[in-house]
């Protein structure tokens, strides 16, 4: 349950300064770290805090190393990307403390005889795995989760308690699916006939690549005819809705409560802010950031940050500004009227010879 600094740099790289034999028991933020912790500086604005930290060791970048001069611990790991280094170090500590589940299928799980479960997979209590499903090596399906007919779960992928993967859907290796997530429910597909809705069977799948994380109570609908696709490395927070036939590009991250409507196509390396909404059938190119609370109504074809939400104010001020927003047309008309009157006036003025000239004429 401890790591020597020497071991740390052996595993994760970085340049070590100071006593390599010191053992650290865990990782903590600059201000909370004590003499048994390693800490990290990932934002230059906290350099003063780094100078004061009580931590046994400090991870920072080369640039910050040159500026942090007074850190008493004097054991420093210089990393190319201090924040990513912190993440990997934290993973090492977590691996040490993690309770490793024993491989095998819990007696209360219901696994169809035609399902294929790797011998070293862990299947928890009350799990249901239907006919033809395939569970990869070292995968872990926690209590109460449901894996539908012919669905596939890749190696080392982890379903937390009470998650759902519907029939025919697939997720690759090293995925994480949090509790309550539902992958492969029907999309909202109906034809309207005289006011009534005729259901369009949703026969596509959800195809999820490797290294994808899916947050708690997030829903990803199966495709209508073709598939819904989530590329590798995508990270989805909680309570996100991804509708049928969406395509989410690799390494895109989406924050909680966002909604992606049907057949929207989002590029790679995008980020979508919390509660943002992406309209159906639009395209967002790579490296677009949509801010929180923003509704993207039309395609976004240039990288950049895009925003659109009403600024918050005291309620009374909002009431006034909202009334004015509704009446912007009137405001524009008034401006036009002013422009017209003023133009007429200045033309009249111009048409009238200035008084002094008239004076001359009078003379």
């Amino acid at each position: 349950m401890s790591i020597r600094l020497e071991q740390l740099v052996e595993r994760l790289g970085g340049q070590l300064k100071g006593d390599a034999n010191i053992e650290v028991l865990g990782i903590a933020p600059l201000d909370a770290a004590g003499s048994t912790h390693i800490t990290f500086l990932s934002n230059p604005k906290f350099r003063a805090q780094a100078d004061q930290t009580q931590a046994a060791a400090l991870i920072l970048s080369e640039a910050d190393d040159a500026q942090v001069q007074n850190y008493a611990g004097a054991r420093i790991v210089v990393a190319r990307n201090a924040y990513a280094y912190f993440a990997r170090a934290a993973q090492l500590f977590q691996a040490q403390s993690e309770v490793v589940a024993s491989p095998g299928i819990h007696a209360s799980a219901v696994v169809d005889a035609t399902a294929t479960v790797a011998a070293d997979a862990v299947i928890g209590p009350h799990v249901v795995i239907e006919a033809g499903a395939v569970i990869g090596a070292r995968a872990r399906i926690d209590a109460g989760s449901f894996i539908g007919r012919n669905a596939r779960v890749g190696e080392e992928t982890h379903f937390h308690a009470r998650a759902t993967l519907h029939h025919g859907c697939e997720i690759g290796a090293r995925g994480i699916v949090h509790s309550g997530a539902v992958i492969g429910a029907d999309g909202l597909g109906f034809a309207n006939e005289a006011g009534q809705w005729i259901k369009i069977p949703q026969v596509g799948r959800v195809m999820i690549a490797d290294d994808v994380e899916i947050g708690a109570n997030t829903t990803i609908d199966r495709g209508a005819l073709a598939d819904t696709v989530i590329e590798e490395g995508v990270k989805l927070d909680n309570q996100i809705q991804i509708a049928h036939n969406c395509h989410i590009g690799a390494h895109t991250a989406i924050a909680a409560c966002a909604g992606i409507a049907g057949s929207a196509r989002i590029g790679k390396y995008c980020s979508i802010g919390g509660a943002a909404m992406i309209h159906g059938h639009i395209t967002i190119v790579d490296k677009v950031h949509v801010s929180a609370g923003t509704l993207a109504l039309r395609s976004i074809l240039e990288p950049g940050q895009y925003t659109g939400f009403y600024p918050i104010t005291e309620h009374r001020d909002w009431e006034k500004s909202a009334a004015l927003v509704r009446n912007l047309g009137t405001m524009r008309e008034k401006i036009r009227a002013l422009e017209k009157t003023l133009k007429a006036l200045t033309q009249e003025q111009a048409a009238q010879p200035p008084f002094s000239e008239n004076q001359e004429e009078n003379e």
Copy 2:
């Protein structure tokens, strides 16, 4: 696993042109359909694609039939509503390929002795059905779902894995409840007493009529004293919240992530866009469309489309426009000041006899 065109029109109607004996194996979009598929044209703007499709047969409307002249397949089903026809045809294909679950109660299900389960219903593994509940003919309750005390599930209604129907609540025939949906949890009902919240027991029910579909992780709260009501044919997408004592009119469709606050009353044949929010205690009449991302604060008493969300722009532009929105009051003041100054000026001008007149006077 195939349907002859002749069978199709026998079942679904429509006027068939060309070889009635051709068998089709499935349905596909215009551009993806091959020689074993039937396809459909539901939007005139794709007529050129219809002319080029490789499909074995083509469903279209009379109007489109007159315009699509070059379709090589030459087997055509003319339908009154091509999209609804497609939906019904797709249902036929799906029925052929569907795995039919065997009636009966899975050994791992826990069904109270006082519950009534139709002999031809299908009760999956780890399902819990409490005392007094009634499960109708051919209903299907999938793995891990929960049906509370005295709840009722109508004929042919299908609960997907891990859905919940709480005590006393009812759903009619041919309903579909997707995974993670929670019907009949308590509404947010509290009385405030000196800053603390006293719980108001939620003793109403959720009453859901026939042919209702409820999306994954959608929540419908039970009424406080009276019931929450969902009329027939309503279609609810994923992650919708319907608060206590709402009333949703027949054949209304609500897109994902929408929220309907307590005691709101929505009419029939409405559509509510994704992430739209309907305030509590308001009334929305029949045939209203609330756009995505829109908050309806007051009752809507005329049919039509209603919208209100901040337009998305590049972030820098938004910052400017948002600052101006906050200061619309100032802008209005400036316009008023301009109007006043200009009025004073034009009155002054009017008060002054025009120069030419003065000239005359001078003479």
Copy 3:
């Protein structure tokens, strides 16, 4: 299944007028109450209804008592806070009709040998309780719920069917957790390295105090390093997302579909409207009300009501107003140009002696 008015005031206080021996069978609103019900008047605007109610008895405030003169039932309970009194009375009626579950662990539940379950707790079918977890006295864990390793559930706390409390997380006494809620899933914590996301293990907990209610399908993420904290008396509606390391102050109520981003700190006695979004790392002081549909981007340091959402209008009008909102910069420029022109004009006028003066000069 009935309560005498005398018993009611013995239990809940208040001043009783009229026959104390009358028994009431339940509680109902003013307009629905019949001769076996007690009803309540909590809003003066319904005084006329109170005069007409058929109820056997009426709860109201002293001020309303002075105004409601014609109520025929003539049995009145005068309460300091009529609405809170109603809530407590409704609790009494509910307690009478509630089906009391028998203490003990259902045979189908999977409870680790090292977990501690109070003898009078109720553990439902298919529940899973992992190693080291502690379930307090008279707690109730309903069907299909999951309590993770070393998690703790306080006395009389009730998990409805299919709720989740992850490892190490704690909830205090008298809590209510509704179906589908997920407490303690990982927050969205990643370090970006060359476009890819490196997971930061989420090793904090969720610490929930006493008397907290958590709505259906609500998610509360565990802290990254430190804990996520929910203080006593907080009431959370359905489908709320509370991200890692948030801190929600005592007696704050949050309506459905709201989202609180990471490390946000919300004060005591606040209310957050439905679908409101609170940005990460901001502070909201005590007694702040954020309106529904509002995004709080920056800290709010003064109590009050704050609002920001786009007003709804007919779609055509919105299209115009949205176009103008995008072009507010142009509007401002036009106003500036007008101001400039007008200023120049008025200065020119001022520079010119008025005509009458010129006349004089001419003379």
